[in-house]
């Protein structure tokens, strides 16, 4: 019997850097410089409509959103643009919590961090809120951003409740933000959770879904590499705040609170979606 030859061990280069949650990398001068370009993209390319900013109270809050459009997620950038033009760059800073695959990515990661994206982490997020900053989170993460197109008008938080505990511990209100149109910038054909598990993406990269997508320039591709988005109309609606302590007390039933916030946002998302005439067109 021949012994199986032992293959040499190959060390793969690390593509994603370990980046701690550091708010000092936010660069107001850079943001101010970027705002006109972003405004052009948002207004002309995506014909963006952002409504309900008057619902945001003048205090640190946790913005909780649904986001669409895979790695491009234009709704996220458009909301940040709208926030900063409404409250000004010098106003209460808005940080967003991102997957390490975003904050630690070569080139893009640095730009994102300058824009106020910090690596998601519970303790760091509590501190950011207690320092009187606001935070934007997308609890559904990649499962939300890469949900099938047929689920584009569904709130998909995948059972993740950390955002509730974060708002409760930091003593801030949740301000829900719902968005449509991002999922018309490319096409997600299926739920890729099984594929992510099969190929080990969930353990290697903490990526929980690997669906088949159709985008420019990739054509059909498993997963969500950055792409050139279709010029879909983006609509965003800021809903009225939810005070978890007022509604659920000091010791909430997290499942109950999760169901409530999801339900409330589902109503907002369905109502926003009812304004759509045609996908992409808006």
């Amino acid at each position: 019997v021949m012994a199986t030859p032992k293959l040499p061990r190959i060390k793969l280069p690390k593509l994603v850097a370990d980046v701690p949650a550091d708010t000092s990398e936010r660069d107001p001068a850079y943001i101010r410089e970027m705002l006109p370009k972003l405004w052009l993209a948002a207004s002309l390319y995506f014909r963006a409509e952002v409504k309900g900013l008057e619902n945001i109270p003048d205090e640190a809050v946790l913005f909780v959103g649904n986001h669409s459009g895979g790695a491009s997620a234009p709704d996220s950038s458009i909301f940040q643009l709208a926030y900063m033009t409404y409250f000004t760059v010098e106003g209460r800073p808005l940080f967003s919590l991102g997957h390490q695959i975003v904050t630690g990515a070569p080139l893009v990661g640095r730009l994102m961090r300058k824009f106020g994206v910090v690596t998601a982490g519970f303790d760091a997020a509590v501190k950011i809120l207690k320092d009187d900053n606001s935070i934007l989170v997308y609890p559904g993460g990649d499962v939300d951003a890469l949900r099938p197109w047929t689920d584009r008008n569904k709130i998909t938080f995948d059972g993740r409740q950390g955002f509730l505990k974060l708002a409760h511990q930091a003593g801030v209100k949740i301000v829900p933000v719902v968005a449509t149109g991002g999922h018309d910038t490319f096409l997600v054909l299926n739920d890729g959770r099984k594929a992510a598990k099969t190929f080990g993406f969930d353990k290697m990269l903490r990526v929980k879904t690997l669906p088949m997508t159709l985008s420019i320039p990739w054509g059909f591709l498993p997963g969500g590499l950055p792409f050139v988005p279709f010029p879909a109309k983006i609509r965003i609606q800021v809903l009225e705040p939810i005070d978890l302590r007022e509604r659920f007390g000091d010791d909430p039933d997290w499942d109950e609170a999760y169901d409530y916030v999801s339900s409330y946002m589902q109503v907002g998302l369905a109502e926003l979606a009812s304004q759509t005439l045609l996908p992409v067109v808006g």
Partner: protein, 147 residues
């Protein structure tokens, strides 16, 4: 040429409670009014007359309808002028959990014409579906949480 929209939702509330809201046009239309305009016009021997107009982009489309309770768990409407449509909304115990309810809307509408009507129908059907979905989500949330 006609098209049909069918949308259902489970509501985690007992059927009797849901039925009381769904078969009362004033309470039901209040829940649906965030994406459409519902105005009560008159009372008829068989029911009520309502103006029902969907907010579709920059214009409103709809009709005057006669609304009738046709069974203890069912409400129906039929247009008497404007866009030609009829609808039926029913409440039943949910199949998976009889302590919960299943609310089902069937809405039919008609357009005159051939090729262009077919094209318009293809666009209109998803729009109407999304409006019904939004109304049912609002109804579900209202019944489950009282908001």
């Amino acid at each position: 040429m006609s098209a049909e929209v069918r949308v259902g939702r489970t509501i985690r509330v007992p059927e009797a409670q849901v039925r009381a809201v769904v078969t009362d046009p004033e309470q039901l239309f209040e829940c649906f009014s965030s994406t459409a305009r519902f105005v009560k016009v008159d009372t008829t021997p068989d029911g009520q007359l309502w103006d029902v107009f969907l907010n579709v982009s920059s214009y409103e489309v709809g009709s005057r309808v006669e609304v009738r309770r046709t069974a203890p768990n069912e409400l129906q409407w039929e247009s008497v002028r404007g866009a030609d449509n009829n609808a039926r909304i029913t409440v039943e115990p949910d199949r998976d959990d009889p302590a919960h309810s299943w609310v089902h809307v069937v809405l039919r509408f008609r357009l005159e014409g051939k090729l262009l009507a077919r094209f318009a129908m293809a666009i209109a059907q998803p729009i109407v579906t999304r409006h019904v979905e939004a109304g049912l989500e609002r109804l579900r949330h209202h019944l489950e949480y009282g908001d």
